[in-house]
Symmetry: C2
Subunit: 243 residues, 2 copies
């Protein structure tokens, strides 16, 4: 499984992903799901992948391969807009699936995959997209400042309560870490390290990128304080007078 979150806030974009893959409980691996394509001052593009690892990896490999060997080919480093980036990624995923899907299905392997994809290209505002398994995609607008993929439900409530477009990057980063903690506690197939990237609006530079391991002191402190506080908040809620 996987857990990925992308936030589209007034102050910028936040991306976070876990690093666990599994092909059955006896085959659990560690693969980062975040990739960054940046050219300082001109573009910063981040992808978070979920679902079938061979499909998501090779969709990006295919784009990279073509653009590397033929500069006239469209790729993530020369696309003119984030819309074009989302279109390229959706098309590449369709191409990989057309190649592999019947082989995967013949072994009952799920070929579904998806991307959260966002960033900024000079001349545009920052944008955030969710590319579905079928290659179509939607864009985050003010009403929907966040996308999740993978094991989304355990970590959803705290995001629903806190995140608005006006939430600060610092507040949102804490909220995302709490959301990951809740997910990791409840689903063994989501695991650390957590890749976290914070992109500031209009910076056109990579910004802060952190890999938080299980024993990261800051992540540990967040988890400990959150857990203790939740339990004590519950105790301070009024007791039912009918019990």
């Amino acid at each position: 499984m996987t857990y990925c979150v992308g936030l589209n806030l007034e102050q910028g974009l936040i991306f976070a992903s876990d690093s666990r893959t599994n092909a059955g409980v006896d085959d659990i691996g560690r693969f980062g799901k975040m990739r960054v394509f940046a050219n300082d001052g001109e573009r910063v593009i981040v992808t978070l992948s979920a679902g079938n690892l061979s499909v998501t990896q090779n969709a990006l490999n295919l784009l990279d391969h073509r653009a590397t060997h033929d500069a006239s080919q469209p790729g993530l480093m020369n696309a003119k807009s984030m819309f074009e980036v989302a279109t390229l990624v959706g098309d590449a995923m369709r191409e990989i699936r057309a190649r592999d899907e019947s082989y995967l299905r013949s072994s009952n392997i799920d070929p579904n995959a998806s991307f959260i994809l966002g960033g900024q290209i000079a001349g545009e505002s920052p944008r955030l997209f969710l590319v579905y398994s079928e290659g179509n995609f939607i864009e985050s607008l003010a009403d929907t400042p966040l996308f999740q993929t993978g094991e989304t439900k355990f970590g959803r409530p705290i995001l629903d309560r806190v995140i608005t477009p006006q939430t600060s990057l610092s507040e949102a980063a804490k909220c995302v870490l709490v959301s990951f903690d809740s997910t990791i506690r409840s689903n063994v197939s989501v695991g650390t390290p957590i890749d976290l990237l914070v992109y500031r609006h209009d910076s056109l530079q990579l910004g802060v990128q952190r890999r938080l391991e299980e024993d990261d002191p800051y992540y540990g402190e967040i988890r400990r304080q959150w857990n203790d506080s939740l339990r004590s908040v519950l105790q301070t809620l009024p007791d039912p007078d009918w019990l």
Copy 2:
């Protein structure tokens, strides 16, 4: 959808269920999912149903019908143990499915259903079971003091953090309401009123049974305080020094 929770604690049992059913977004109804079978001083049995409403209703109707018209038939009011109760309910569900399943499947209707079922019969300790769609079942033991059915994930993290067999009934009831609030916020197909029943160990009496409507003042206060506290706890968490 549905959300049901059953807790098996040292002080007793707690049952909670929502009251929304849907057969598509344009066909949302209100059906309580909790049923109680009690004979003061002798037995208290509670069922929470999830899944196909006709299957769960008619499994219980079938048992009721037979026991009403032939006192020699086994039923929930004369079963000798909670194990026998779970067996009866599983068998009745299998019988209804054998009758209806092919008709349901021919219209692409999901016949799956399940029960959380618990209570106490004089001579036994309180017991809690989860009866699967196939009619087999498991019992809650000390390592697993809670069962959920239906839309389980949104409301799971707070239960995972708080509930142990030693949790008091009052604390657990608050935790369950918070879990329902998180679920109802994130999934429109789970809705109030919430049916809540608290059974005290060895009382062999019905105990507290409440139906909490959307505008219930106590439930409203729990929701408000929890939401406010969560947001302020998040603010008091240490800010990342790398942002």
